[in-house]
């Protein structure tokens, strides 16, 4: 069969029929689930890295008295063929400490948006021009003013031509009442979608559970749904952890819900009761896998949000994480084949690995200490490389010798994590490493 192209000598009557037939067939084929994706937890709308990632961009909290003391985007070379493999090759400070937390790329992967939980500023880096040397090109400072008082931008999630920013708090009373905020890729404010509450449920089922809190938010396009989770407000996340845990009243002001939204209309459909601060949301990738995982940090449980046989969306606890006291699971990473779930646990610094082939009955298959504390976990699309960072929040990290600050890279062989390299962010005067996102020069030509 000839390659699809325009050829003058071709009979256009026959060609027209042929191409229309091909187009229809290809649409049908695509609908069978040929969706490709990127590293395992990024937006499905984003340009993807299909092979070896070259860089890990680490959004890092500045520490007073350490280096320049500022939040910064640190670039680590992770290409095994590079002479600087495992080394910090670039660092760009944004000036000041903003409680650097999460970030994400625009859908064209030209820019990386790095959010500051405390200042509510978003720092936009150009990663296309020089992928090894991201450059800070713009600061978005108008989020609270434009959004109607939303604060604490948690991250940035790529949608076509726009960025969805799930937030944690508000400027009025700094509790967990918050919203999802949208900006265009150019950095212009578009819309605010407040999390549902009992008083403002906007038709969502389960309104009696709605607490208005937010944290992560991700989309399953083929079902036209997005799922958000909930944490706590600035009054808590900016407070010293030791002080917070003694304040029983403050600990009541923590998110206990997840919300399923109609993605296209941005309207909440159903609120689930998921007690104990459900944090990261990870949709499965399989074309018929209509489910997502989350872990509750304070509940120390693994939860499944899934579509049942009747087409109804449900949420249920599917596994306990850690021992009796819990392990404070703070991040999860689901493999591209939906079979393996990595869970990083801040309390004991361990990574617990679950076989989630049957998502309704996860089984722990491995447990390994990563450090004295561990927060984020990110894996490559092929599942062979897994990266961890140590910092949770500036005021929640451990003290003294337990306050290790690192990026540690491992190779996963299906049974255990084999150390590949490590970067000591404290020794290198960089700060507290938090979110990790992958980069590659091969994305751009």
């Amino acid at each position: 069969m000839k390659r699809y192209a325009v050829h003058q000598e071709f009979s256009f009557g026959r060609w027209r029929e042929f191409v229309i037939a091909c187009a229809v067939a290809l649409i049908a084929l695509a609908s069978l689930g040929l969706a490709l994706a990127d590293e395992t937890c990024v937006s499905p709308y984003m340009t993807r890295i299909e092979g070896q990632e070259e860089y890990v961009y680490v959004w890092t909290l500045g520490v007073e008295g350490l280096g320049d003391g500022s939040d910064k985007l640190v670039t680590v070379d992770v290409n095994p063929k590079s002479l600087s493999y495992g080394k910090v090759i670039h660092s760009h400070s944004v000036g000041g400490r903003h409680e650097a937390h999460h970030g994400g790329f625009t859908d064209d992967r030209k820019h990386f948006w790095a959010a500051g939980l405390d200042s509510s500023r978003i720092f936009v880096f150009d990663v296309r021009s020089h992928p090894a040397q991201p450059k800070h090109v713009r600061t978005i400072s108008d989020l609270p003013a434009k959004s109607g008082g939303v604060t604490g931008p948690h991250g940035a999630y790529a949608l076509p031509g726009r960025v969805l920013i799930p937030c944690l708090s508000n400027s009025k009373d700094k509790d967990g009442r918050t919203a999802l905020v949208e900006y265009s890729n150019e950095g212009e404010y578009l819309a605010t979608h407040w999390m549902p509450t009992k008083e403002d449920a906007r038709g969502a089922a389960g309104a009696e559970f709605a607490d208005g809190y937010g944290y992560d938010c991700r989309v399953l396009p083929r079902k036209n749904v997005m799922l958000s989770s909930s944490f706590t407000g600035a009054e808590n996340y900016m407070r010293p952890f030791g002080e917070l845990v003694k304040d029983a009243e403050a600990l009541k002001r923590v998110g206990n819900t997840m919300t399923l939204w109609d993605f296209h209309t941005r309207k909440p459909k159903k609120v689930f009761q998921v007690p104990g601060a459900p944090l990261e949301v990870r949709w499965a990738w399989g074309p018929k896998h209509n489910y997502a995982f989350t872990a509750t940090a304070l509940g120390s449980k693994l939860w499944l949000v899934y579509e049942d046989s009747k087409g109804e969306w449900q949420a249920k606890e599917v596994a306990h994480i850690g021992g009796e006291k819990g392990a404070l699971p703070v991040d999860i990473s689901l493999s591209a084949d939906d079979r393996t779930l990595f869970v990083s646990c801040f309390a004991d610094g361990k990574c617990r690995v679950f076989d989630v082939s049957n998502p309704h009955e996860p089984k722990q298959i491995h447990e390994q200490t990563i450090g004295r504390q561990v927060n984020m976990v990110s894996q490559s699309w092929d599942g062979k490389r897994v990266y961890f960072t140590s910092s949770l929040l500036a005021n929640w990290d451990k003290q003294g010798e337990d306050n290790e600050q690192f990026l540690r890279a491992y190779e996963w062989n299906g049974r255990e994590l084999k150390p590949a390299f490590a970067v000591d962010f404290a020794k290198q005067n960089l700060g507290r490493p938090h979110a990790m996102n992958f980069g590659s020069s091969k994305l751009y030509n």
Partner: protein
Amino acid sequence: MKTLLLLMSLCVLRATATADAQRPELSLARTAEYDYDVPDPGTYKLPVLKPAADGAVLGADGKPIRLHDLGDGRIVILSFIYTRCTDPRACLRASGVLKQLQELTLAEPALATNVILLTLSFDPGHDTPEVMTRYGNVFSRKNGGADWLFLTTQSRDQLAPLLERYGQQVDAAKPGSASGPYNHPLRVYLIDGQKRIRNIYSYGLLDPRLVMTDVRTLMIESAAAQPMAAARKEPLTPR
């Protein structure tokens, strides 16, 4: 005056209700890729993403024309493609969906006259007006349905600002790439009658039912803002 406004409002509501009852896009089945029921038009808002950029393009006759002059107040669905693309998830898919949209407008004169489809090549070196015309003959109906124009540009220099301002990324593919000489994300733009981008569809979002629902949402919005606009003028662009 109040009575007139009330009557006009009722006309708009009635037209909307009629359209809702017909909505030919609802005859399209849910698929594994678009496995949901589409929302009702007008029940949600489409924020203004940014102004739709203008620029010089070449029509089928090879004569230069401004992109903005083609819309003539209609809702524009703009798709960037190149004819050498063989990726089933990209250009062929976009043109296939626009074909579906054109078919859907057949049953509803109001849709056919309020919507124009534009396919613009980002490969001007290869996709001359003649090539685009032949490409258009493959996909577009000869008669009936919304107008569908197949456009290109004079040169890469003329094209570059359009790609930049729309945010359509185009990169060179590896030599010998099976899907063609360019890497590019699938992008189709929904532009309202005031030349503002109101939605962007990429892979996973280019559901013809959803696009048509968005079109209806814009029509309802426009009718509510300007009741007199409900009486649509004849299209100026020849088929």
